[in-house]
Amino acid sequence: MSGIIDSYIPVAIFLAVGLIMPPMTMFMVKQLSPRSKAASKYTTYESGSIPTGTARIQFNVEYYLYAIAFVLFDIEVLFLYPWATVYKGHGITSIAVVEMLLFIFILLFGYVYLWKKEALTWVK
């Protein structure tokens, strides 16, 4: 219990540093850098032309499909991680192998389905 927490103390320290460093750097930059105010400087960059409309555009639906596919497959990988640690040396190798292969096999069904449904093709 405390061993686990111990190994994360450096993580906390690093996180703290990671959180503080960028603002500190930016603070230093503020002190060092010059200042000049010109309205056109604060416009959005659009290759020199005057920006039109908002940039908060609608998601392309393609991205959504990928996101879903990713979430699902990534979650499947989630199951592989604990399995990876017990695969070796826990004396249950044969069951572990068969079941995980079955799992991957079933996963393949979904994969082939997605492929054939052209969910994995960018431009339809």
């Binding site: 079933i106 069904f109 979904g110 082939v112 389905y113 054939k116 449904k117």
Partner: protein, 489 residues
């Protein structure tokens, strides 16, 4: 490998689902119709295996159950009985859906989702571990969320699906939260082990919290009254075949899960949940019946009636005698036949309306569409009559037999007041059922007569046969239900 033998029905179902999924994407749209037959065959095979498995459960006259997969699953009379229920529903739905999906591009998705949902329900029925139970519960729920929104172009279907999804997910969260407390109090997720340490739950105040959360969680799926809001919308909006699956199948899943969790695992807290369930049962049946009277959409009416029926089954929790539990379990099967059939019959009418583009297209299942159905589609009307009379508990139908056992056991347990309420409700329900029959037979038809397409007709006949066989020859079903109840007590 012995373990796999006990799970043969599940394996068949899930394998059929996978094969259909892949076959569907490789087949041309025209030839996708065979998928429906394939699914039906798979379900029939699973049904056969399930029925056969009843033989395995008795050895030298003793009732036995098996625990397989490191005690994650339990094969006993209760699980097999509910598998029968789910497979029966799946069979009826699958046959009817052959027609429903006739020109659909997504046939394989429908059948795969349906089979996965059935698989999930079947696993819930035999779950012996909270994890398995929750995972299977969610598997079935997820598949049915998608099925409810199957008609992507139909705003009603989508709206129903959305409500179902939101409320279903919330209920899943409540359930998970509740289960986490059960686990926390006992330190195990195995149902028998939880049951083996009753004092852990009694002494710990979080046991009560868990009960409340779990009742809310399962209550949503069972559509008990304060948690029923999604049911009418979803049942009305979804395609009729899906409504049949939801009302007849998915709801039973809630019950079997509740049986496993409350009666076996949380037996220690019986006084607490029994009281809550008693109140919920009364509220559910009364509310469902009263509101059903006011409906003009038949599917919505059936939905409310389904809510009411859930109240009857929930009486089993309130009474908690072996016979009452058996009655509740038997009612589940009877209700599967009746409600699935009734929704399919409503689906036939919706199909007819959409074919002819007459009548109220916004609410194709409006009562007006049923006018003179006795002349337009005698088979559909007759089956619907059988179903609604069965739902009302008119003999000799499955509904009567199931009510008979359930209500009589209530009296036996000395809860005559509950039986009186249930019986009065049953009488009240006759009012709106009779009105539907009235529309079908006593009003003049508003269109040509139509012949019921073969798959629909076959599905209806299966359901009618089930209703009548259970009504006329209930012995084997009563016996099975009682065996199943023995698992619980």
């Amino acid at each position: 490998m012995n373990e796999l033998m006990y799970l043969a029905p599940e394996i068949v179902v899930v394998a059929t689902g996978l094969v259909i999924l892949l076959a569907g994407v490789f087949l041309s749209p025209r030839s996708k119709n065979i998928l429906g037959y394939l699914a039906t065959l798979g379900i029939l095979a699973a049904l056969f295996l399930t029925v056969k498995s009843f033989g395995l459960l008795t050895m030298e006259g003793l009732q036995i159950g098996y625990s397989v997969f490191s005690e994650a699953l339990n094969i006993d009379a209760l699980s097999q009985f509910f598998k029968l229920v789910f497979l029966v529903v799946a069979l009826i739905v699958s046959i009817a859906a052959i027609k429903y999906n006739e020109n659909s591009d997504h046939t394989e998705e429908f059948y795969t989702l349906m089979l996965f949902a059935t698989f999930g329900m079947m696993v819930v029925a035999s779950a012996n571990d909270l994890i398995v139970l929750f995972v299977a519960f969610e598997l079935a729920s997820l598949a049915t969320y998608a099925l409810a929104g199957y008609e992507k172009q139909n705003p009603r279907s989508l709206e129903g699906a959305m409500k179902y999804f939101v409320i279903g997910s919330v209920s899943a969260a409540l359930m998970l939260f509740g289960l986490s407390f059960v686990y926390g109090a006992t330190g195990t997720t195995s149902i028998p082990l939880i049951a083996a340490n009753p004092w852990l739950l009694i002494e710990n105040p979080i046991g009560l919290v868990a009960v409340v959360l779990l009742i809310a969680g399962f209550g949503f799926k069972m559509a008990l009254v304060p948690f029923h809001m999604w049911a009418p919308d979803t049942y009305q909006g979804s395609p009729s075949v899906v409504s049949a699956l939801l009302a007849a199948g998915s709801k039973k899943m809630g019950f079997v899960a509740a049986f496993r969790i409350f009666i076996i695992a949380l037996a220690a807290l019986q006084p607490d949940w029994q009281f809550i369930f008693t109140i919920l049962a009364v509220a559910t049946m009364t509310f469902g019946n009263v509101v059903a009277v006011a409906q003009t959409s038949v599917k919505r009416m059936l939905a409310y009636s389904s809510v009411a029926q859930a109240g009857y089954i929930a009486m089993a929790f309130a009474v908690m005698t072996p016979v009452a539990l058996g009655g509740g379990i038997m009612y589940a099967l009877a209700h599967a036949f009746m409600k699935a059939g009734a929704f399919i019959a409503a689906g036939v009418v919706v199909w007819m309306v959409s074919q002819e583009k007459t009548g109220n297209l916004n609410v194709p299942d409006h009562l007006d569409s049923f006018k003179g159905l006795g002349k337009r589609m005698p088979l559909a009307a007759l089956s619907m009559t059988v179903f609604v009379f069965a739902l009302a508990g008119i003999p000799p139908t499955a509904g009567f037999m199931a009510k008979f056992v359930l209500f009589s056991s209530t009296i036996q347990a000395g809860m005559a007041w509950l039986a009186v309420i249930a019986i009065l409700n049953s009488a009240l329900s006759l009012f709106y059922y009779a009105r539907l029959v009235g529309y079908m037979y006593f009003l003049p038809p508003e269109g040509k007569s139509v012949s019921v397409p073969f798959p629909y007709a076959a599905a209806l006949l299966v359901a009618v046969a089930g209703v009548l066989v259970m009504g006329i020859w209930p012995e084997p079903f009563v016996e099975l239900a009682m065996k199943a109840a023995m698992v619980l007590v």
